[in-house]
Symmetry: C2
């Protein structure tokens, strides 16, 4: 399978000056929690609690060295379901050494949060002065903020110093739906202070059309371009990228995709022969429903920065390996997932 | 009663450059929702729902001209208590003209949210690298975010296009607990687009001590300095500023306080004679429990900018009058509250 990433995009080369993105702690990994992985897609505003808890645990294991041997000290001291969390014992902190933690940034999608509000009002199409769009903008932000808060709390319960950061509050805005202004200084400062920013797809102001939706995928690409993580992991609800919708018979998991300087990409593993045409058509059809070509394009643009991208099923042994960086370099045969990486030069 | 405002403070003269605070819609009013007015002070993380609903209604009446004759179109389309709000009917928007709304900014305190987490961990004292402080920082932000979300939702249910904006996300930070960096561009842009920013006291990074608590009162003073509202209203749980704790026998409501160029202030109404000394002592004692001198000082610094400040009991007819700006200029006798205003020159 071959393809091209989308044309050059403003997102990776914003016009504004970035004053201070100096990282005293380099970013190990930016993780995308796919909306499909952490929410129940067909159930309005319902979190997939089981997945979210497992994802939080795995993030802790990947971030905090030696975390398996240390008591988890929860950082959510607020009431849940009307009851106080039993997690705030000062004595626990006496034994808590300063944890040697890898710097992570979490970006999440919306899943069954926000989409209803955004699509009903057409926030993505702009026109923020119209009463319906304005109301939908407010409603969308409420919905995604509810989700963001729940994710921050789930991570905090696992002892991850998570900090919700909203693109709108960060002052990020778009112009004709491309990022126009997205200063990552506040994110970098949070990382430098040892926090894990938890950022979400959001309704934002657009200089041309008034407003739009800034997706988690675009955010992650922007952050990757400026903050240069060692690797990026997309947690999703399937094992990776397939040559056709994974529910179809004969769907093949694409294990390794390489991206070249000119933005073109090909499947390196498994070896696909004489089926380019057919696969391209299938993928195109897939795209209208599942957005796989878009996802590959986004991932390919990150890979082009020299940053390996892993697309993997959330809450599995495969996601844990990917988050820990264990499949970097050589990918074991039993690991299920898709890696997208950059190759210098044009030939393979 | 006479007093002095605190010494010159960095907050009103930040060092950083503000690039774009141009308001296409001048701010009519910045409102402080005092923590004591909207939460149940002695009940951990409990909102005073009745007060919050009334405050939201009054804000709608003050913001939106002719709102009494127009159907309220709720802007919270998310589930509450597990059920979907019945507020999103597209047909309703057909009759909804573009509302002629006054620009407001809402800032709220924490009340029974955040304080427990902050004081238990000592976030205000700094030391963000210590595990307890880091955990408390995360826990504090979770708690105040829960409150912020509930306030945004209450306002949205009243048809107010409210947008939660968190100081930490906005990249605001302090230096030795004074504001060091607090670019209000994102806030101004939200106002220009017709939204009502809802900002809260927050845990933030501090350049010197690592972290601290940025209070709602300091935020409101900073916003007032840069965005020059016509007036500022503090909604609280008593009728205004008293000469001693209002629960004490003989406590007198101070109706009008004037502030002079040099920062000194005096009570103009009621006329207090020969009791300066006594009142000063009483107020000083009051301060350790209720922070009234601090509150007057904060208000006086806003008044010095030429902006009248009204301190009034939330969810009363008096607060509605103040929010609507009806008591500006001449203060009717039946209005209960305290106004703090600036007078040119030193003599009265």
């Amino acid at each position: 399978m071959r393809g091209m990433t989308e044309g050059e995009d403003n997102a990776s080369r914003p016009q504004m000056e970035i004053e201070d993105t100096h990282l005293t702690r380099p970013i190990r990994c930016i993780v995308k929690l796919g909306g499909a992985a952490i929410t129940c897609k067909n159930d309005l505003e319902k979190i997939n609690e089981e997945n979210l808890d497992t994802v939080s645990l795995q993030l802790r294991q990947a971030m905090i060295n030696g975390s398996d041997f240390q008591k988890v000290i929860g950082m959510d001291w607020s009431k849940r379901f009307g009851k106080l969390e039993p997690s705030c014992e000062l004595d626990d902190f006496k034994d808590q050494s300063k944890l040697d933690a890898n710097s992570f940034i979490v970006v999440h999608g919306a899943g069954s949060f926000g989409h209803f509000q955004a699509s009903k009002s057409g926030v993505h199409k702009g026109g923020v002065n119209q009463p319906l769009v304005k109301a939908g903008f407010v409603a969308t932000r409420i919905s995604v903020t509810i989700l963001n808060l729940e994710i921050v709390r789930a991570l905090a319960r696992e002892g991850i110093p998570s900090i919700g950061m909203s693109p709108f509050s960060c002052g990020w805005s778009t112009s004709e739906r491309n990022i126009a202004s997205a200063d990552v200084t506040a994110v970098a400062k949070a990382v430098n202070s040892g926090f894990v920013p938890v950022i979400h797809g959001d309704a934002v102001l657009d200089e041309v059309q008034g407003c739009t939706i800034l997706s988690g995928d675009v955010i992650i690409r922007h952050l990757a371009a400026y903050l240069k993580p060692e690797y990026v992991v997309f947690l999703t609800d399937v094992y990776g990228v397939y040559d056709r919708p994974p529910s179809e018979p004969g769907a093949t998991l694409l294990r390794e995709i390489v991206v070249r300087e000119d933005g073109s990409w090909s499947v390196l593993k498994p070896t696909l022969t004489d089926m380019n045409k057919q696969v391209e058509i299938t993928v195109a059809a897939h795209d209208t429903t599942g957005g796989m070509v878009t996802k590959i394009s986004e991932a390919a643009m990150i890979a082009k920065l020299g940053i390996d991208v892993y697309i993997v099923k959330a809450a599995t042994s495969h996601s844990l390996s990917a988050l820990k960086g264990e499949v970097r370099g050589s990918m074991p045969d039993h690991w299920l997932g898709t890696v997208i990486r950059y190759v210098h030069g044009g030939s393979l």
